[in-house]
């Protein structure tokens, strides 16, 4: 009972860590290049979820100035960190996707096993 109570209290953090591991598993084991890019996006999103869960205050309102003097605002600094992080992850995703388009034009496949085979073939003929 204690364990289930602790699990439900910290559900945000456990979800963030689980998403990080799912993303890492996708990048490492899948063979399709686009699935690996999606795995990187999942890893990035999990860290943003972690940061939001840190900044939460129970019973708080969004950090926009209100006239009521005794109201709890949630911490605005993690939101700023997440905004910068989102821009970085988006630019990295765009770069990887354009590389994938070029690889498809050159080799005709986006499967990692076939790519390795084709590159070895070229090295042997070189």
């Amino acid at each position: 009972m204690q364990i289930i109570q602790a699990f439900v209290d910290h559900i945000n953090f456990i979800g963030a860590v689980a998403l990080f591991l799912i993303g890492l598993h996708t990048v490492v084991t899948k063979k399709n290049l686009i699935k690996r890019i999606m795995g990187l996006n999942i890893m990035g999103t999990s860290i943003f979820l972690f940061l939001v869960a840190i900044g939460n205050v129970t019973g708080g309102v969004p950090p926009i100035l209100q006239q009521d003097p005794n109201v709890n605002y949630i911490n605005p600094i993690p939101s700023v960190l997440i905004l910068t992080g989102i821009v970085v992850v988006v630019s990295m995703t765009v770069y990887s996707l354009s590389l994938t388009i070029k690889i498809y034009e050159m080799y005709g496949t986006i499967n990692q096993d076939e790519l390795t085979y084709l590159i070895r073939e070229e090295e042997i003929h070189d």
């Binding site: 970085v88 590389l99 690889i103």
Partner: protein
């Protein structure tokens, strides 16, 4: 006014990177000369910064006048100034080389893009060296990662794309791992500024020891992937095999070292010695570094392509630097910083001279170097000086760094590490010496011609000669920079 110099340096590089696309209608030489003048301005201002900081202490710079608890702060101390001058000076020499390289380097219409990327990389490197904020370091780290990946795959050939895809994947895993560590530290302390974080952690780490050890682990793994420390080094040889020579020189001499500077700041300014000794970080780093030194050389012996061989040699030299850091003493840290500078010079000399050989003769395998010294004497002399420096022969700067590393390990009663240093030096002999011997002593039969100066463009020769002179100068007169490096290493407060 002199307090504004760090930010003015960074803004000069950013402004140059933005003005180059607007100049693209004129001839290209104007762009090259403009870039060179800006690089020289930053070199002189870095000299001023070093002498000013050596007298007056570190410069603290807050952006926008906001207090350091909520704003971004730059702290330029002596180590940052020395590494900053080294980065900008070495980039100037590689810039001179790339002005003359027309065919093996980049194609004519790609030239503008190459230099825009180069100046953005310099802007971000100065930012990551000067900054005093953990999240700001992550932002600059990402800028360096994407622009470096572009500068490697700038030749539009087939094999560059697959190599740079693997590069992006691994580097992004490293960056996201580092960011997870920063998020965990923010959870414990509530700050991201290095000074405030270290002050908070020193008083409360007994309560939150699980958070801190996990954060330390994530951050060391993340920086280790990007700095090509041994088990995470997989991307480095592939990236070298398909890149133009000046990009390879920049990648292996400068960018990898910048992440080691971040590791030094992280270990010795955020988590100070109490926490590190409690979690036995020193033992782990010594084992990792020693394995890297030996395995890097063993992999290098088996390579046929010369650029991949130089890439694996870089991995083993980075093992030296990490071993110097892992001693946790100021003599070890001084030897690590000296090896950062000397390995940068030597590896750049090796890559640039190999680049001249590929430009003139179009060969790539290491068995084809026979008799080359008779046609290209200057290039092969510089290659020989740099290779002897890697092995550790006296009169070169590589010998001084190995000597200091040996003295540091003896100081701390870890004398068994000297055996590993010597063994790694012997392994270096096995793959460098055959190239030198075959180029100087064998010549093609029936063609004995005396030495003649080779006909390659003069910028390429000038840069290689400057690097050779630099290696010999730091080998014969190491006290030019060793005094200042020792002074910088003592500021970290280690024993």
């Amino acid at each position: 006014m002199i307090n504004q110099l760090p930010i003015i340096n960074m803004l000069i590089f950013l402004a140059t990177a933005l003005i180059i696309p607007l100049l693209s209608k004129r001839t290209f030489k104007i762009t090259l000369i403009f870039g060179f003048i800006m690089l020289l301005c930053v070199v002189t201002s870095s000299f001023f910064l070093i002498f000013h900081i050596a007298e007056h202490g570190a410069i603290l710079y807050q952006f926008g006048g906001h207090d350091s608890k909520i704003g971004i702060e730059f702290k330029v101390d002596l180590m940052a100034a020395i590494i900053g001058l080294f980065v900008v000076g070495l980039t100037t020499i590689i810039y001179i080389y790339s002005c003359g390289d027309e065919t093996e380097g980049v194609e004519q219409k790609e030239y503008g893009r190459y230099y825009i990327l180069l100046f953005i990389i310099l802007f971000a490197i100065l930012g990551i060296i000067y900054t005093n904020d953990l999240f700001n370091a992550y932002v600059f780290m990402e800028i360096i990662s994407i622009t470096t990946c572009s500068i490697i795959s700038i030749k539009r050939k087939k094999e560059t794309y697959a190599a740079s895809f693997r590069y992006v994947m691994l580097n992004e895993i490293g960056s996201l791992s580092y960011l997870f560590g920063v998020a965990l530290i923010y959870m414990v302390t509530g700050y991201t500024n290095i000074d405030w974080v270290s002050q908070s952690i020193q008083s409360i780490w007994q309560l939150y020891s699980i958070n801190i050890i996990i954060a330390l682990g994530f951050m060391i793994v993340g920086i280790g992937i990007k700095a090509a420390i041994f088990p995470f080094h997989i991307w480095l040889p592939d990236a070298h095999a398909s890149a133009p020579s000046s990009s390879s020189a920049i990648l292996s001499s400068i960018i990898v070292k910048v992440y080691i500077v971040v590791l030094i700041k992280l270990l010795f300014k955020v988590f100070k010695l109490d926490i590190l000794n409690h979690f036995h970080v020193s033992t782990i780093l010594v084992i990792v570094a020693a394995t890297g030194m030996i395995m890097g050389s063993i992999f290098a012996i088996a390579q046929k392509d010369i650029k991949r061989m130089l890439g694996y040699s870089s991995i083993s030299q980075i093992g030296y630097i990490v071993m110097g850091i892992a001693m946790f003493s100021s003599l070890g840290l001084a030897s690590a910083m000296f090896h950062i500078i000397s390995h940068g010079l030597m590896k750049a000399a090796l890559f640039l001279s190999v680049g001249i050989v590929i430009y003139k003769k179009k060969i790539k395998k290491k068995n084809d170097f026979e008799g080359l010294a008779y046609e290209m004497p200057i290039t092969m002399s510089v290659f020989t000086i740099a290779a002897l420096g890697m092995i550790g022969i006296p009169l070169t700067s590589g010998f001084i760094s190995k000597l200091t590393l040996g003295m540091a390990s003896l100081d701390h009663r870890q004398g068994y590490l000297i055996i590993i240093v010597v063994l790694s030096g012997l392994l270096n002999v096995i793959y460098y010496l055959p190239i030198i011997i075959s180029s100087f002593l064998k010549s093609e039969p029936n063609t004995y011609h005396p030495f003649k100066i080779e006909k390659v463009p003069w910028p390429m020769l000038t840069s290689v000669i400057l690097l050779g002179i630099g290696i010999l100068t730091f080998g014969i007169f190491p006290n030019l920079i060793m005094n200042m490096i020792t002074q910088a290493a003592e500021l970290f407060g280690l024993i």
